[in-house]
């Protein structure tokens, strides 16, 4: 056979690392291409932008809408105090936390389980790639989608809030976005873990959303005891957006704990993938 391909870099550990990294990049590229071809890369951010615009717009027009609802008796004076811009931003994040998260989780639920169900993974995983590179590539592309959507939606919200309600310093918005993005990343990571673990995509989405809800609930029920858990992050993000000053040491603890948990989940997912291959 002519043209020996890739036999030279097997012995040298450094070149093995780079070749392994290149394969990871190839897989990320493939994931992004898949997102683009299925239009996920377009519609998910658009949904976030829509949510982002809706919040300030509906707040601004709330008095008008109420007035035109028509059921009010003549002469009623509607007096709803216009909220601050920062408060509207915090409400936007809450919108992202319900509808936005639902959309993201549902869009990514089949990322591993779908490929295993269709059987593509059999043809991909016999290639000389590691389970962790495979999982990491999925994770990277999911996070890119989540952060891209969040940034687009939040920017739109910030712009409209400034236009209609009141300017907010962008630094404040930026900080809250970072914290909120970390929370979304954690939820994406849980989705990936369940998608690897469970056979059914729907079950994976259900488990991931349930898990996220549980984390948030626990953190809000016991803010003192569990303020350092990932579930507290969304609360911190709302506080930051609404110009509050959260306890910085608890916040940084939550950030560190979340990052560690995410890394742990990725390793667990890779391990699970390897194990389920051996058992099939």
């Amino acid at each position: 056979m002519k043209g020996a391909a890739n036999t030279s870099n097997k012995l040298d550990p450094t070149s093995f690392m780079t070749s392994s990294f290149i394969r990871y990049l190839v897989m990320v590229q493939k994931e992004l291409l898949e997102q683009a071809r299925s239009y996920k890369l377009l519609w998910v951010p658009l949904v976030f932008v829509l949510l982002g615009i809706m919040q300030p717009v509906s707040t601004y027009y709330m008095p008008v809408i109420l007035e035109h609802a028509g059921s009010l008796p003549e002469g009623t004076v509607i007096d709803i105090p216009m909220p601050l811009g920062a408060e509207v931003l915090a409400q936007t994040l809450q919108q992202f936390g319900t509808l936005g998260m639902l959309v993201l989780v549902l869009a990514c639920m089949g990322t591993v389980s779908g490929e295993r169900l269709s059987g593509v993974s059999a043809i991909i995983l016999v290639k000389p790639i590691s389970a962790s590179a495979y999982i990491s590539s999925k994770w990277t592309s999911m996070l890119l989608l989540a952060w891209g959507s969040l940034a687009a939606g939040y920017l739109a919200s910030w712009y409209y809030t400034g236009l209609l309600i009141g300017e907010t310093p962008i630094v404040q918005a930026y900080e809250s976005m970072l914290v909120y993005g970390l929370w979304l990343s954690a939820v994406m990571t849980i989705t990936l873990l369940f998608s690897t673990w469970l056979r059914s995509s729907a079950a994976a989405a259900f488990a991931a959303l349930g898990g996220a809800l549980m984390l948030t609930l626990l953190a809000s029920l016991f803010p003192k005891q569990l303020g350092w858990t990932p579930g507290a992050l969304s609360g911190f993000a709302y506080q930051l957006a609404a110009a509050g000053t959260p306890d910085s040491s608890t916040l940084s603890a939550a950030v560190v704990v979340t990052i560690v948990c995410m890394l742990g989940s990725i390793s667990l997912a890779a391990l699970q993938l390897r194990k389920s291959l051996a058992a099939e």
Binding site: V47, V49, I53, V64, V103, L106, S118, V120
Partner: protein, 69 residues
Amino acid sequence: MNESIVIADLLPILAPIIVIQLIIMTIALVLCAKAESTRGPKWVWVLIIIFINIFGPIAFFIAGRRNEG
């Protein structure tokens, strides 16, 4: 009298919302037309996409298509 002013004010602000909704709806319709097999009859999906604001297209993106892996 106050009403006409409100609508004139409203339009430039609401335009982006309408445009985005139209884009999402169009993508969904195009994908629905191109899909080889949908879960359930295609014409039902078309109605859902057109008449259920935002949630219709999203539902189609997530659950509407088969064998697209």
